[in-house]
Structures are given as structure tokens and as C-alpha cells.
Amino acid sequence: MTDAHTAGPFIAAIDQGTTSSRCIVFDRDGRIVSVDQKEHEQIFPKPGWVEHNATEIWTNVQEVVAGAIEKAGITRDDIKAIGITNQRETTVLWDKNTGEPVHNAIVWQDTRTDALCRELGRNVGQDRFRRETGLPLASYFAGPKARWLLDNVDGLKERAEAGDILFGTMDTWVIWNLTGGTDGGKHVTDVTNASRTMLMNLHTMQWDEKICESIGVPQQILPEIRSSAEVYGEITGGKLGDLLGGIPVASALGDQQAALFGQTCFAEGETKSTYGTGTFMVMNTGDKIINSYSGLLTTVGYKIGDQKTVYALEGSIAVTGSLVQWMRDQMGLISTAAEIETLALSVEDNGGAYFVPAFSGLFAPYWRSDARGVIAGLTRYVTKAHLARAVLEATAWQTREIADAMTKDSGVELAALKVDGGMTSNNLLMQTLADFVDAPVVRPMVAETTCLGAAYAAGLAVGFWNSTDDLRANWRRAAEWTPRMDAETRAREYKSWLKAVERTMGWLEDEE
């Protein structure tokens, strides 16, 4: 709709994501005014390795920002601030004198640091740095990726020690370039992105000297840790400098934290779940750093200016939307993803079948890499429609298991689950979620919660919005599903699901 948008001012948000970069312009009500998007190349040098060209990403970011401004038909005077959200953990090192990356960025999915992480665990194992950082030693996180680059790019260690090299996750890379690059660019990161490096101490919110030394990342390459919502600098120089020079760069949030913010989960216990190819569930735990004994990650939710840090618990499910894609592409049982619902609705229930998609092991709360996928409970009676139900139920049960883990760790019962992402268009799935989790499931009216979160944080930093209460007032419920399943059925079904999960474990006997 264009009618109501003629009047500014506006906030712009950049979403530097895994497959594309986007820029969205929002108005004061949090409505989308314009969008521009551009995909970048996924580089796979070896099995398990994933890289991005950081220079291409920066070029794309400039294009989509200019594109969104042009589509909105507005000028720099209409934009009060620009915010950033980004794919988390993806790591780039560059020369601060030339602005040239020394190597492609190593993407979060890249597993090249597996061996390094095992080595770093020494005799303690995965949890060596968990108390300080909230994270297990796993290949996702940025610190070990930086160490890999320092070890493997010729002469890099010496250049780093000489003070010529800068480290950054994608927020840092984009902000440094936006604010002038080689000409005085600000070398900063926000607390949420810093909390995914394995180098920041959650208790001090500063780089942990000992851990940096253990992992092998010299502190002089690290950016300054700032809050998620403050003015880091102004857009300066380059093509964007001509177009938007002087506009404050005023927020940075990792993508899942941005979605938490965009969903206005500002109170302790409020939880959002984003349903894409995988699912990310994040619970606001207020000012408490909760150590997880159920395999969840302890992370920073956000920090607004000089206010207190808000912490979060995070649980991820590796296979949700991708299981529907698997049914479509590998099994050929449906021709579009949406058809899974049509097929599933052609029967009343799962016919006794349970599908545990442990395609690459079981993640939270089990963490069993020796598990593999299982379809359990098959009889002559089961049809492909029952399997379609089992596919949707798998996503709902996995959500329930993460929710249970969160409750166990935090002591907070889930009052409602705020959902976003592509799979929220699946009505049967959303109802099933409400039934299995036994809490209302709520979908907000703006689907783009990630970008919206970055816009909100930037708008707060420059006083475009006054408080999180203003933002809550913007939040609109588009739909709500309430539990309809009786407790007895839920308990019986959950038991069967857990039995099926058990059957996935120990499938691989010789783990390399």
C-alpha cells in the first residue's frame, strides 16, 4: 500500500543475511515502505566449507540501500537512522589500510574448525569456555574461525601483530565500511554479535583475555564492543556517502536477536520462534545469565544504550522447513511446500507414524551426533498423508522439546509463543504447535521481524521511538492459535514421539 506512506520520517534497516542482503524502509508504525534485496554467491571450496566474498557483500549492501531509498521515493532528509542485522558468526579479516579482505569470509555453517575446536577443548571437552561465554566449543562460532585464518593465510599473523588487520563479524564489516572504511571507519561490534565469537565474557561484557589467548586471537584485531542500540557513527564517503551522508548508523543485532527485538519480546520469559529451513527459538531471560544444563546456548538478547544487558537462552532445530523440502525434492510426495498441509489434512491423524529427522544427528537438547533419522510406527495402514502429518508434527514436537528445556533451565513456563518465518503460513502446523506446546501461538502482522528489530533498535537510539513501550504499541496480532488437544492425548503422543527419538540414537557405531 502506498497511500499512508507519503509522510516520513522513516528508519532503514539492512539485513545482511546468509544468502542475500536486504534493505527495508519502515515508517513510524513499523509498516514496510519499500524493500530491495540482492543475493550473493555461496562459495564451496571443499565439502563442509562455505565462504562468502565480503567485498561482493559490501557492494550488494550499498546497492540494496540505494535501491530501497529509491523505491520509497525519499531522500536522506526523510531517513532518521539506519540499523543493521546480520547472519551471525560469519567471520572476515581485512587490512585496515586498504580495506581489502585477506580471505573470503568463513560462513557460520562452515565446519573447517571442527578439529581445531576439539583440540581447543583439551582434556575438558566442549564445555571448556561455556561458563564464561555461554557456548560449547563448536565450529559455528567466530573466534576459532579467526584463528584458522591467522594460521592459514600466509604472513597474516605477522600483519595482525603489526596492527594492520581488523577482525569482524558481518555487522562490524558493514559498519566499518558505512562509516568511512579506510578513512576513519568505526571498528565496532554489538554485544549480541560479540556473544557469538566465544571470545566475550558474558559477565563482564568484554573480550576475555584468557580465552582470546587460549583460542589464539590477538586482542588488537578485535573491535570495540558496544550496545545494540546507539549511534556508532555516520554514513561517510563512497557512493552511499553522496546519497545518505550524515545519517546515523545506530543499531546492530545478530539476526535471531533482531527477530526477538522485532517481536517485542522485551519481558523476561517472552519467547519467539522463527520457522525457516531450520528453526531458532530464543527466550528473553532478563538480566539473568542462565547456565544451561539442557544443551541450550546462553547468549545476549540485546542491550539498549547504557541500559542493563538483557540475556537470552537459545535453542535451534536443524531440520524443520528443510524436512518439507525433502518430502518435495527427495521423496516427490508433494509438488510445492504448501501442499504438505493439503496432504496432511486428508487424514485425521498420523496413523501411528512418527518421523524424527535426525539427518545429521540430534541437536538440542540431546546433542547426539551418532543419531540418524527414523520413521517409526509403520504399519500397512500408513499412507503418505500420515507421513505428511508426521512431518509437520516433527517440527511441533521438536519445538516442544526446546520449550521444555528452556523451562527446565530458566524456571519460567512458556506463556505464549510468538512465531515468524515462512512456515507460519501453514495453518495446520501452527495449530499443531499450539496443541503440543500447550500454549497460545501468536503470529505478528509484520512478517519481517528481523529487519524490523534492527529498525526498532536504531529508532530507539536516535529518539525516533521513545521506549520499548512505543514499540509494543506497534505490535499487531495477525493470528492466534489456541491449544485444542486434551491433556491425555498430548501426553500419549509425546510419549510415542520420545520413543521414536530414542530409536535414532546410536545408529552410527564408529564415530570418526
Binding site: 500500500m1 497511500d3 501442499e339 495453518n427 512478517a447
Partner: protein, 257 residues
């Protein structure tokens, strides 16, 4: 019995000739097999090509069956696909209009609600996905009856109940409303189904311009209609509904008309 139409018979013969296996034939092969002059054969082939029933290979110039023939058998658009495509636009319509949004498709003798977005206020609302609405009195149903011939005949055969004293039940009046709907491109329901409630709806078309559903807003008469004596529907709301229907149609591949 009336005489058959020769060019249709010839077109059918050509399709049969091209059918079966990976068959590609040149113009002269087709013409000679059917005993036609090349010019006549070419005219028919060109028409079939425009309809998508026949395709011409760029390199060899030979003809083969077109993709449209395959689609004829599978015209059905999955309603869940429709919802997934409509989601963003329906949200935006709810935001801009301040009313609840419904997406409906024809199901048996009524409108099946396949998507529902709450009115953007803080009130408690219940999701109505799966509910049925009547064809003859609601804006969603009138749009379907006006654009989809199957819905039209269902509406004529159905028992058209009077829900309020404004419901139009007799066939002539109903047909007139459908004419007006087609002429304006949207339908209205001002207290014809529920007292105090009005709705506006517009058609969603797929890539072949087939009507696949209707989308609309529903709310209190006082908000949807102007406060003056006429009590006409607010034009900005009509525009918002039609914008939404066009945006969804565009996402489904329908061209701009």
C-alpha cells in the same frame, strides 16, 4: 446435428499427430500427413502456438506439444499455496484498512475461508480458517459467483436464504448484483449477511486469468461506510482491497490488466 467445425477437427488431428512420445514434426510433415496446404496448416499451428498447446523449437523450427496441454489436467491451485502467496499482502491490507481480512475459495455451495488476518487492534478474536460463508450474500461469495462460472451455477442452485431484510435472494436481483460486481471489479455486502456488518471483496486471478479466490475486509458498517446520508463504502477501503487482490494475483503470475 449441426455440421462440425472443420478447423477445430484439423487442430485436433494435429494434436494427435504430435502426441505420443517425444515427437517433433516440421510444417511440411504435418501438412502432408493431414492432406492440408502448408498455409492452412501453418495458420492452425500458429493459433495453437498462441494458446500454448503447441510449441516451436527455436533451432529446428519443428513443432511439438506445448506445456499448456499438461496444465489443462492440473488446473487446481492448492489453497495452501494461495494462502502462502497471499500472507504478506493480506497482513498489509489489515494494517492499512484497520479491518480483519479474509481469503475465500469456492467449496461445495459456499465460500471456504482459507486465510484470516485479525483486525489490528488489541481485541480478542478467533481464527476463522475453515469456516463457511454463503455465496449469495457475502462480498467474498458474490465475487466468486461473478467471476467463476462454477460458483455462479452453485449460487443459483443453492437455497438463497434471507439473513437480514437486505439480503437479495431472487435470481434477477442476484444476477444484477453480479453484473455490477463484474463492471466495478469488486463486490460489497452492507448488512446483507449480518446486521451491522459490511464487507468489500475483490477477485484473485492466477496466471491464466482464472478466478481462484477472493480477498476482502469485513468490519462494522460505521467504519466501512461513510457517515453521510448515502452511507456509501469508503473509496480508500475499496482501493486498498483491490490493490491487495491485484498484488496477490501478480504473485500468482497474472499479468497486469
Amino acid at each position: 446435428m449441426a455440421r462440425n467445425i472443420q478447423s477445430l477437427e484439423r487442430a485436433a488431428a494435429m494434436l494427435r499427430l504430435l502426441a505420443g512420445g517425444e515427437r517433433r514434426l516440421g510444417l511440411s510433415d504435418i501438412a502432408s500427413s493431414l492432406g492440408l496446404a502448408k498455409g492452412t496448416a501453418h495458420g492452425i499451428l500458429r493459433t495453437l502456438q498462441q494458446e500454448g498447446f503447441v510449441e516451436q523449437d527455436d533451432a529446428s523450427g519443428r513443432y511439438q506439444l506445448g506445456a499448456e496441454l499438461l496444465r489443462l489436467g492440473t488446473t487446481y491451485l492448492d489453497v495452501h499455496e494461495l494462502r502462502a502467496r497471499a500472507l504478506v499482502w493480506a497482513d498489509d491490507l489489515a494494517r492499512s484498512s484497520g479491518e480483519s481480512v479474509y481469503l475465500g475459495v469456492l467449496h461445495q455451495q459456499g465460500v471456504l475461508i482459507v486465510h484470516h488476518v485479525f483486525r489490528p487492534d488489541d481485541s480478542r478474536q478467533v481464527l476463522e480458517i475453515g469456516a463457511m460463508q454463503p455465496l449469495h450474500s457475502t462480498a467474498l461469495g458474490k465475487v466468486l459467483s461473478a467471476y467463476d462460472p462454477v460458483a455462479h451455477s452453485e449460487a443459483l442452485e443453492a437455497d438463497r436464504k434471507a439473513f437480514t431484510d437486505k439480503t437479495v435472494c431472487e435470481p434477477e436481483g442476484f444476477e444484477h448484483i453480479l453484473d455490477v460486481t463484474r463492471a466495478r471489479g469488486y463486490a460489497a455486502d452492507v448488512e446483507e449477511t449480518w446486521e451491522g456488518v459490511a464487507s468489500i471483496a475483490a477477485p484473485i486471478h492466477d496466471r491464466r486469468r482464472m478466478p481462484v479466490g477472493s480477498v476482502g475486509i469485513t468490519g462494522a458498517v460505521e467504519r466501512l461506510c461513510r457517515p453521510d446520508d448515502d452511507g456509501a463504502l469508503r473509496p480508500e477501503l475499496i482501493a486498498a482491497v483491490r490493490d491487495c487482490a491485484r498484488a496477490v494475483s501478480r504473485d500468482l503470475g497474472a499479468g497486469r490488466f
